[in-house]
Amino acid sequence: MEHEGYKAIIDKYIEGMATTEEKDILESHLSQCADCRQEVEELSFIVKSTNSLSQMDLPENFAFSLHERLLEVQPGKHRQYNKISGENWWSRFYDFYRSNKKVLASGFAVLIIGIFVFQLLHGGPGYDMALISANKAAEMAKSEAESPRAGTSQLFSQEMASAGVSDQNSVVQKEMPMMSSASENSLFSEDVSEAQKTRKIIKQASLTVYVEDFENKVEYTLGLPKKLGGYIENSSIYGGDNGKSRRSAFIALRIPESELENILDELRNLGRIENENITGRDITQNYYDTDARINNLRQQETRLLEILNIAENVDEILKIENELNRVRTEIEQLTGQLKTWDKMIQLSLVEVHLIEEAPFREKVVPVRLQTLWEKAREGFVSTTNNLMKALAELAKLVGSAVPFLAVVMIIILGMIYIIKRKRGRTS
């Protein structure tokens, strides 16, 4: 028997599945053939060692992470996993994307560059598009920049408040070192409320109310400042063109901050609330900054006055007067600002938009048959014309897109060709 013939027996032999007859034949051959003997030895060594490869324990987090993933795919939670075909479709798409990432990416790059070049050559809409996107980006950047600013200012004021609290607290502790911890706590909470009281917040409210008895309600609203204090900042009434349209009134009131809740309650009772909006703008930080600046400027002013007293020649005096003038102007400006803020804080702005609830009543107008027919015909003609125009536009669009589509097709075909070739090479 040839060596090759023994191979089949060797395979059985090493698994211990050879018949006694085959065993005898092989063993007599092995005693003569060193090559086959080595093969048998080495193969049984491999089988033996492979058999003895140890079984690994499951990783500790196996059950847990499997459970998490099972929850994710539990039917009813995610539809696409529910349908096996859907999942396959997705995974196939994903695999395709992963295995052909490079080709796809370069294809798209070519496409995008192509579009850019195309648009550049033709001028036209590409420029507008770029402009629009740039504008959008700028807008987004702006809004992003604004929101954190609001956040930090709030944070800062909180920090300030707490810093103030701790300072006061330490003073208290110095004065009364024997104080028990319980009373310390109560003091602490008082300090917090103290700190909150000094907060400077501008409150504004706006309401849109649908009311039924329009004239009386408007009058009542205009009378509110007299009752609660404050004044009318602005009031205007629109519409009411012979009962044909709804009337509405826009009234802006200035009401003491303490009365804000009361007036809102009154206004809510007027009718159906469509929209209610209350905002509080925290200007604590700005307020105290300005205050501190005024103090600084005052000190500067007194020092300038002192210098003015020792000034000797006219030139010096003029210079100091100039500077003094600047400082005083600034003090005035800042004080004015503070006063405005004080007023805004004391008197909250309440904007009320009253809208007449009862809609205007439509009268029944008899329709003349003749004019109806006429109108229908006109409508038909104009619709047909519009349709024709739209179709013509569409045809124009398709026609002008043909060269572009051709380029796209060529790129896509190229990509398919490359992918196919690659697939052919790997399999």
Partner: protein
């Protein structure tokens, strides 16, 4: 077995607890198959979990007449092979014209010549050698020689004849031998004897 059917029915309704009870006895075997197939814990974990997710999501397709274990192992085997092929493709793309033959790229395990070769190192070498086999031979060797499935069971799992399974296993073992010879495992062994 009737208990299994109960569990399967509940799992089909989406009952995760029932499903986890159902797969309890298969987890370790599936994980170890994947572990030997990829020879690293990370892939083994990923793939074995993927397998159970697949089993869970396609449980509706399981027909009650057939054997659950066979069905599960079939999914396991296919997932391992698919995953390996996919990864090879990705490697092909990233390596491009480089020689992607794993066997050639692999550094032979460092065996200290003057020490007695430890059992563990031989096992390492074998685990690495199994890695170099093509997927169809690799899975057969793992199922037969590590997991101890019968030829008949393997032929059912792979959907091929017993003859094919036998020939793959024999070819696999000879390929392993060649690989170990290439790394001089045997010569070191005999010289120590």
């Amino acid at each position: 077995l009737s208990g299994d059917i109960q569990l399967i029915r509940r799992a089909k309704q989406g009952d995760i607890a029932a499903f986890e009870e159902l797969i309890m006895e298969y987890q370790k075997k599936v994980y170890n198959t994947a572990y030997r197939f990829f020879n690293n814990a990370e892939d083994a974990l990923d793939v074995s979990q993927e397998i159970f997710i697949k089993v869970y999501t396609s449980l509706k397709a399981f027909k009650e007449g057939s054997t659950f274990s066979t069905w599960l192992y079939r999914i396991a085997v296919n997932t391992c092979i698919d995953y390996s092929r996919k990864r090879r493709k990705i490697q092909d793309v990233s390596l491009d014209d480089e020689d992607s033959n794993v066997a050639k790229n692999m550094v032979s395990p460092q065996l200290p010549p003057d020490k007695i070769v430890e059992n563990r190192e031989i096992k390492d070498a074998i685990a690495k050698a199994i890695q170099t086999l093509p997927e169809d031979l690799r899975i057969c060797i793992i199922l037969r020689d590590i997991q101890g499935f019968t030829y008949l069971e393997i032929s059912e799992l792979l959907d091929c004849s017993i003859g094919t399974v036998k020939s793959r296993i024999n070819r696999g073992r000879r390929a392993l031998r060649k690989q170990l010879q290439l790394w001089n495992i045997f010569s070191k062994l005999t010289s120590k004897k």
